[in-house]
């Protein structure tokens, strides 16, 4: 047996150079650079009001991307988040408020429903062994059908005091939605990196077979991951409803690609097993920033969409390519 080595050789302290290779940190740097450059180049971009507005938009993407981060780290993908956002944005006005003057009860009901949808996704993936892409895509299509039947083509307005507050209040000048995002992000980071449950998620994504043989109940963990995906998409949906004042079919559609792009821009491996929500946060901010910059360019919506797609691809080529050595 070898001589006992010191703890510092066994667990060497991290160096500054490691930080420079940290994808989450790099994404933060990119966001900061873009903000500084755009702030100088375009008057008004760097104003507090504008940056606050960008963060408010990023909060919705960021919330959807929490669930997406969990699912992607666990080696799956959730294509139903957009539909779940719509379900909850349209669902709150449809649920009777049950005599609750604060409007909390319908929100809780909708969040429970969103989690339930996620749980069904997890059930299909874990027990029926349906590929996550197929399972969640089918779920999205199913939900869209239900929404069209229930809500039809018209927008529904919400008279919900709780959501109105979350969508419009600005304690100490910062939107309530951003507070919500900060709190939920903190919980997310703790769950991912400081609990055995979080470690199990990384394990499943990196090697499901070895994880199962190590005594991890992979099915329960998978179901929990997809339920979280449903819950955070639902949370994003109710926040969006609060900000928008009304919900309509299709309101959640842009958040599918946005959530996946935020996850990947933040350095989480699309192959699963590694990553962090700490990268998804700047990823989400980067996305809304790019969108804001494109709006400045005076172009038709078609060209804007083309520009947006190309920029995302370019960013991913620059920073997000998977190493092939697996």
């Amino acid at each position: 047996m070898s001589a006992t080595e010191s703890e510092t050789t066994r667990f060497p302290p991290r160096r500054i150079s490691a930080l420079l290779r940290n994808r989450a940190f790099l994404t933060f740097i990119i966001v900061a650079l873009v903000w500084v450059v755009a702030g100088f180049a375009k008057p008004g971009f760097g104003s507090f009001g504008h940056l606050r507005y960008l963060l408010e938009l990023a909060a919705v993407i960021g919330l959807v991307a929490i669930g997406q981060t969990f699912v992607v780290i666990a080696g799956g993908i959730d294509l139903s988040v957009g539909a779940i956002v719509t379900v909850s944005a349209v669902g709150v006005p449809l649920v009777a408020d049950l005599g609750d003057p604060t409007g909390t009860v319908p929100v809780l009901i909708v969040l429970a429903a969103a989690s339930g949808i996620g749980l069904l996704n997890g059930l299909g993936v874990a027990y029926l062994r349906v590929h996550p892409m197929i399972m969640t895509l089918a779920m999205a299509t199913f939900l869209q059908g239900v929404l069209i039947l229930v809500a039809g083509g018209s927008a529904v307005s919400a008279q919900n005091p709780l959501l109105h507050w979350f969508g419009n209040a600005r304690p100490i000048g910062i939107p309530a939605g951003v507070y919500l995002w900060v709190v939920v992000s903190a919980i997310t980071l703790v769950v991912l990196h400081a609990t055995p449950f979080g470690a199990r998620i990384f394990a499943i994504g990196a090697n499901p077979l070895a994880t199962a043989l190590s005594g991890v109940n992979t099915r329960t963990t998978t179901m929990a991951v997809y339920a979280i995906g449903g819950l955070t998409a639902g949370l994003a949906g109710v926040l969006l409803l609060g900000m928008n004042g009304q919900g309509y079919v299709g309101i959640g559609d842009p958040y599918l690609l946005a959530s996946i792009a935020a996850v990947v821009l933040g350095g989480t491996s699309i192959l699963g097993g590694s990553g962090t929500y700490a990268g998804t946060i700047p990823g989400a901010i980067l996305l809304v920033t790019i969108t804001a910059l494109i709006t400045v360019v005076n172009a038709s919506p078609g060209w804007r969409s083309i520009l947006f797609g190309s920029l995302i691809l370019a960013l991913l080529l620059f920073s997000g390519r998977e190493s092939r050595g697996r």
Partner: protein, 500 residues
């Protein structure tokens, strides 16, 4: 004797510095069925790969029709009329029987595939091997034995002068094997050179004319089979100097049974009775793929299994899932550590903690300080050196295996199941693992060691259960334990002797 069609002269081959073949010569002569025998890992498959151009040799020459070939490629070997029926089937399951048979050599007309000619010629070879299925059936629909026949038909389609068969009968029914035997006799009369690899000694004794025996990459016999007995062949295959590799140990006196199963079935396993005792290392031997892995995984709750009666540490029944097996004190170290044992992209310390993560309930918080201390302790205990925040994939095979073992230590399992734990592990680590396993047993725990390395079974185990075709062929006690006895039981030498 006619001149050989293909011959290897003093060929050697090593992988990563491990010599697999040393100065091996073999000559395949037309009109002769040549048997190639050897234990698992003796170098048989490597020799086939050299003869078929799939691998280049490090030294020595391959001669075709008496002329040395500088660098034999698979294409050149095919053109010279050498066809190989591999052990792992190489068929495309979505294509039809006829398409598979002709694959890569489709008859053409005007640049298009001539399906008419393909069907005619495929029909002819199918008749030879006794395949009566419709030729348009996808191969994926066929049972394993039939697929093996398609594989043989595919080799015959090219009208080979040399036919190499790697364990062709391992998945064939008795009837199919008989058809194959008749076919080979016919090919011999027609002047084809056949190289026949089989672990069934009675088959070899009945069918073959000449035998080459490999042991540890060296030819130990190259002789006519006439006048040779089965026991003599077994002796030529085994026998190695155990040297200082194995620690000395004293057998634990007979102790209480910790696991007993009766009529245990799982996957290909049929009706197995097995007892595992505290304080012993129970070896599981046999040729590769006789159900050893199914046995371990079945006991571990990772594969569906049933038994007439089962008891694990006093608890009746077989554990229904891996977490339940862990709760009963079982732990499993898999054979393919990269795929089944470790998370290569995660750190050494993290890998060692995984079973703890699996056991934790609810949303408790991790205790980093405790994790660090535990990882340090395990690393020191098992001699894993250096930075524990490195990814596991940076470690050598031996050290990876130590991590795969280390992760179970904190759970303090009472029954340790190991599947070929020393495969691809350097000698020094092997010895460390052996010491560890014996220490485990001396602490009153039960160790079940499935191994393809026969000396390991002989020198480390209190008892060895030998498996053949999903059944327990024999259970050998310490007194009757020898490499000869294990190999004889694994290959069914007794039956061969009775048949002769």
């Amino acid at each position: 004797m006619p001149a050989p069609i293909i011959a290897a002269r003093d060929v050697s081959k090593s992988f990563f510095g491990n010599p697999v073949l040393r100065d091996v010569s073999i000559a395949l002569v037309p009109g002769r069925i040549h048997a190639l025998l050897g234990e698992n890992g003796a170098g048989k498959s490597t020799l086939i790969n050299l003869l078929s151009g799939a691998l280049p040799s490090d030294r020595g020459t391959i001669e075709i029709d008496g002329k040395a070939v500088a660098a034999l490629t698979p294409a050149a070997a095919r053109n010279a009329g050498i066809a190989v029926v591999q052990q792992e089937l190489s068929l495309t399951s979505s294509l039809s029987i006829a398409e598979n048979i002709g694959l890569g050599a489709y008859p053409r007309r005007y640049g298009f595939i001539d399906y008419g000619a393909l069907a005619r010629r495929a029909k002819a070879v199918c008749d030879m091997v006794g395949l009566d299925e419709s030729l348009s059936r996808p191969v994926g629909d066929l049972p394993l034995g039939r697929r093996q026949m398609v594989e043989i038909a595919k080799a015959l389609f090219r009208e080979p002068r040399v036919l190499i068969l790697d364990e062709p009968t391992s998945s064939l029914s008795a009837h199919e094997a008989d058809t194959l035997t008749r076919l080979l006799v016919k090919l011999r009369e027609a002047g084809t050179a056949v190289l026949y690899i089989s672990h069934r000694l009675n088959e070899v004794m009945r069918l073959c004319d000449h035998v080459t025996v490999l042991k540890d990459g060296v030819v130990t016999a190259d002789q006519s089979l006439a006048g040779t007995d089965a026991d003599g062949l077994v002796r030529l295959m085994v026998g190695r100097d155990p040297g200082d590799l194995f620690p000395s140990w004293t057998a634990t006196p007979e102790t209480e049974t910790i696991v007993s199963v009766e009529g245990f079935s799982s996957g290909p396993l049929k009706d197995i009775d097995l007892t595992i005792r505290r304080g012993e290392v129970l070896g599981i031997g046999g040729l590769v793929g006789q159900g050893q892995e199914d046995l371990l995984l079945g006991l571990y709750g990772a594969l569906p299994a049933s038994a007439r009666r089962a008891s694990f540490d006093g608890v009746p029944g077989i554990p229904a899932s891996v977490p339940k097996a862990n709760a009963l004190g079982l732990a499993y170290v898999p054979a393919d550590r990269k795929r089944e044992g470790l998370h290569l992209i995660h750190t050494i310390a993290w890998n060692m903690m995984l079973p703890q993560f699996g056991r934790a309930r609810g949303l408790s918080l991790r205790n980093r300080g405790k994790e660090k201390a535990l990882a340090l302790d395990l690393a020191d205990h098992l001699g894993i050196k250096g930075d524990l925040t490195r990814q596991v994939q940076a470690l050598s095979g031996g050290n990876q295996q130590k991590v795969a073992l280390a992760k179970w230590m904190p759970s303090d399992p009472s029954i340790l199941l190991l599947n070929d734990p020393t495969r691809g592990v350097d000698v020094e680590t092997k010895r460390e693992i052996y010491i560890l396993l014996r220490r485990f047993a001396s602490e009153g725990k039960a160790v079940v060691l499935s191994s393809s390395d026969t000396p390991e079974l002989v020198h480390l185990c209190d008892r060895v259960a030998v498996m053949r075709e999903g059944k327990l062929a024999a259970t050998l006690d310490r007194d009757g334990l020898s490499e000869e006895a294990i190999v004889a039981a694994a290959m069914g030498a007794e039956e061969a002797a009775q048949a002769a």
